[in-house]
Amino acid sequence: MLSGYVVTVLITIGIYVILALSLNMITGYAGQISLGHAAFMGIGAYTSALLYTRAEFSFWPAFFVAGLVAGAVGAVLAIPCLRVREDFLAITTMGINFVVEATFLYVPFFGAGMGIGGINPPRLFGSEISKPGFLLLVTGVIAAVIAVDRWLIRSWIGLAWAAIREDEEAAGAMGIDVVRFKVLAFTLGSAGAGLAGSLYAHFLTFIMPVNFGFGQSIVILSMVVFGGIGTLRGPIVGAIVLGALPEISRPAMEYRTLLYGILLLMLMRYQPDGILGERSLLVRGWHALRQQAAPMKN
């Protein structure tokens, strides 16, 4: 069977998949750049950790409340964000990340620099679930997030997001309440990050403010952009590849932030759709191959 180490890596990657998919709702589908996604992961992690360690909640209610709280904070913070446009939105969301991280770091209630410890893994049928069990739980959450993702994309909400991403003013002229649908994107995306944060807290059993800093936000964004922003496969593949990379190569771990920074720059310059976006080299090559193959079949 899988070794404990491999399971640990897979769980970490799984949590990143949830984070990347949830950021993709905001940045990929609705087209609203966010450089502060880790803040909502942190809000979920801290909500879950506090409920568990201080209010004697068990994992499951803490997990769902973490999603709700992160979603609600996302909705409230989205409102000032929506008054600004693209480049300012990047700076505002970045600022939110710093404020949230500083709040965890300096407010004693949140454990300040010491963080919060003693968060146990979830229990099922009276006993703590094993690591493979936790991996199964993460996989289940990913499946649920994918199901919600597909449902949204097939609905009028997905279409409204696409219109806003393409041309906000034209979307308004087509009867779309732009503010409301943007807030919805931030709410759902932040809720997803909150759920991931809760899983993260109960997996590591110990959280610190630095886990939810700006650097973490950049890591999540890199995964989305690397795989192919605005697609379903992109963020998943991005999270798997960039999540596994530091485990495979030690230098990649040490120079992680630098590496992701360079990666983002290169992608923006040469493959703005990521490696698996509709206009990426790989996907265009795949379509070309299939077209060549098609006449042979007939």
Partner: protein, 249 residues
């Protein structure tokens, strides 16, 4: 009662008056032309009507109800649709999806309804019919960004029609088009009007304006300098002056 009544409409940008005390009425069933030199405030007028700009003074009534200062989506849902002077289709979306976005206006107001599937047989057929209606019978799955200008303009009209509008605002529909394309568009505008849609047309192409509008409003530097039938407008000295300069009067 007029379909749209504008009274004392004034809009300023940083002290520059774009529209000054404009009063006009759009009658149910007509095609009203809005003409004037560049910078006369024609597009600003459209932007005020559709809620993209909030007027500084004055009222805009649609079917007797004031709409000035309302947000664009509210005005669109009431039945005022527009096209843009510089075309703005959703470039990465297919033609069908472009129209579908506007067709969704009946689902967006309620959260429950907006979670239902968008690409149903019924909604897709409705969108294809709208595309057919503006003369785009094929290639519905193409990305809108790849279309030539003439078709982008038609697509914008199809999209506007998906709002089921009673008032359609067309901002220079013939701009950048070849003569034959303009003529086809003129036919389309006439047909839509015969089908019961009231139309306001901003247009630089005088043959089109004269051919399709029975009433014109002339703006110059944000001021409404004339109103009347095309023949009277063509003889109006103020209009001639606005277009050709003082010396030619």
């Amino acid at each position: 009662m007029a379909l749209l009544e504008i009274e004392h409409l004034t809009k300023e940008f940083d002290g520059v008056t774009a529209l000054q005390d404009v009063n006009l009425q759009v009658r149910e069933g007509e095609i009203l032309g809005v003409i004037g030199p560049n910078g006369a405030g024609k597009t600003t007028l459209f932007n005020c009507i559709t809620g993209m700009f909030s007027p500084d003074r004055g009222t805009i009534r649609f079917r007797g109800e004031p709409i000035q200062g309302r947000r664009p989506h509210e005005i669109a849902r009431r039945g005022i649709a527009r096209t843009f002077q510089i075309v703005r289709p959703f470039p990465a979306l297919s033609l069908t999806d472009n129209v579908l976005v506007a067709y969704g206006h009946r689902y967006y107001p309620r959260l429950g309804a907006s979670t239902t599937a968008s690409r149903t047989q019924a909604s897709l057929q409705a969108c294809h019919r709208l595309l057919d209606r503006v003369g785009m019978a094929a290639g519905h799955e193409r990305a809108a960004g790849t279309l030539p200008l003439g078709f982008k303009k038609r697509l914008e009209i199809a999209r506007a029609l998906a709002l089921n509008p009673s008032l359609l605002l067309l901002d220079e529909p013939s701009g950048g088009l070849r003569h034959e394309e303009s003529q086809e568009l003129l036919e389309l505008i006439r047909r839509l009007n015969q089908e019961g849609i009231t139309i306001v047309l901003i247009e630089h192409n005088m043959p089109i304006v004269m051919g399709v509008c029975r009433r014109l409003v002339v703006l110059d530097h944000g001021i409404q300098i004339a109103e009347g039938d095309p023949a009277a407008i063509q003889r109006n000295p103020q209009v001639i002056e606005a277009y050709l300069g003082k010396a030619s009067v």
